[in-house]
Point group: C2
Chain length 190, copies 2
C-alpha cells in the first residue's frame, strides 16, 4: 500500500477526532497527535481548522457508500434497506457513541461558519439525491407509493436518520434505532 | 413581576447561550455576562457548567409546551399539527439559525457527559410520551392508522423533527421544513 502523505494522515485523524469529539472540542494538537505528525506541520497543509473541517466532511462523505444506492443490480427496496442496515451496523459497532459527522457539524457549527454550513448543506443534498434515485426506481417499479415525490421522501428519511442517531446516542442503545426501521420500511417504503 | 433571582438569571442566560453557541463554545463568562451577574457568583449556584447544563435542559423543556399536546379540547390531529406549527414558527422567527437544545446537546456532548446524556435522554422521552398520547387518541378515534404503535410513531416523528432542524440550519431555509410537514401530515398521520 502506498504510504499516505502527511496531508492525508491529518485528514484521516481529523475525521476521527471531529467525529469523536465535535468541532470545538477537537483541537489542532489533538488532531496532529492522532495523525502522528508535528503540530507545526498543520499550517503547511491547511489555513485553519475550519478549512480542514471542510476537507474532513468530503472524506467522511466518501465513506457513506453512496454508490451502493446506485447499484441497479439490486432491487431498489432491498438496496435501500441494506443501505440503512450498513449505517445501523456502523453505529452499533461503535456502541452508539458517535453519530454522523454531517449531523454533528449541522448542529454544533453551521450557525458559526459559513464555509462549513455550505459544505454540510451540499453533503446532505448529495446524500438525499442518491437516496431519491433509489426511491424513484422503487416508485417506478410500483413497489413504493408515489403519493410523495422521491426527493421529498428522501430528504425526510435522511432527516429521520439524523434524528434517530440523536436518540441512539442519548439512550446509548441500539433499540433507539428500531422506530426508524419500523416506520420507514413498515409504512413509508413498502 | 417578581424580580428574578440571580440563579434564575444565570439559568435563562445559559439556555440562550447554550442554544446559540453549543455547550463547548458557551463559556461561563459568556453566560454570566449575558445574565449581568459577576462571574464569581456562578459557583455560588452551580458546581460546574455541566451541572448548569442539566438545569438549562429542564428550563428549555418547560418551553416545549407539552401541555398543548395534552389539551383534549382540541381534536388530536389538529392539536398535533398546531404543535409542530408552533415549533416551526419558533425556528422561522430565528431565521433557521438555531435548532433544539436537546438535539444540540444530543450530538455535541452526550458522549462526553453521563449526566447530560441522561438528562437529554429523559427530556426526549418525556417529549415522545406527550406526543404519543395525542397520536394514541387520534388512533382511537380512527383518524390515524394504528398499524404502527403510538410510542414508536411518536419517537420516529420526534427524531424526524430533530433531523429536520439540521437540514433547516444547514440550508438556512424554512423550505427545509416542508418534507417534515408533507410526510408527517400527508402520509403518517392522516
Amino acid at each position: 500500500m502506498a504510504r499516505r502523505s502527511m496531508r492525508e494522515q491529518i485528514v484521516d485523524a481529523a475525521v476521527d477526532r471531529f467525529h469523536a469529539r465535535g468541532f470545538n472540542a477537537a483541537g489542532v494538537k489533538d488532531i496532529t497527535d492522532t495523525a502522528g505528525v508535528p503540530k507545526g506541520s498543520f499550517y503547511n497543509h491547511f489555513s485553519s481548522k475550519e478549512d480542514l473541517a471542510v476537507v474532513a466532511l468530503e472524506k467522511y462523505g466518501a465513506s457513506r457508500r453512496l454508490q451502493d444506492l446506485e447499484d441497479t443490480s439490486v432491487e431498489p427496496l432491498v438496496r435501500l434497506r441494506r443501505y440503512f442496515e450498513f449505517l445501523r451496523d456502523e453505529i452499533v459497532d461503535l456502541k452508539c457513541t458517535r453519530g454522523c459527522l454531517f449531523g454533528d457539524f449541522g448542529t454544533e457549527i453551521v450557525d458559526h461558519s459559513e464555509v462549513i454550513r455550505e459544505a454540510v448543506g451540499q453533503s446532505l443534498q448529495r446524500w438525499a439525491t442518491a437516496l431519491s434515485g433509489a426511491i424513484r426506481e422503487a416508485q417506478e417499479t410500483g413497489t413504493v407509493s408515489a403519493d410523495i415525490d422521491a426527493e421529498t421522501m428522501a430528504r425526510f428519511i435522511l432527516n429521520a436518520w439524523e434524528g434517530t442517531l440523536i436518540s441512539a446516542r442519548s439512550d446509548r442503545s441500539a433499540d433507539a434505532l428500531n422506530p426508524f426501521f419500523d416506520v420507514v420500511f413498515g409504512t413509508l417504503l413498502r
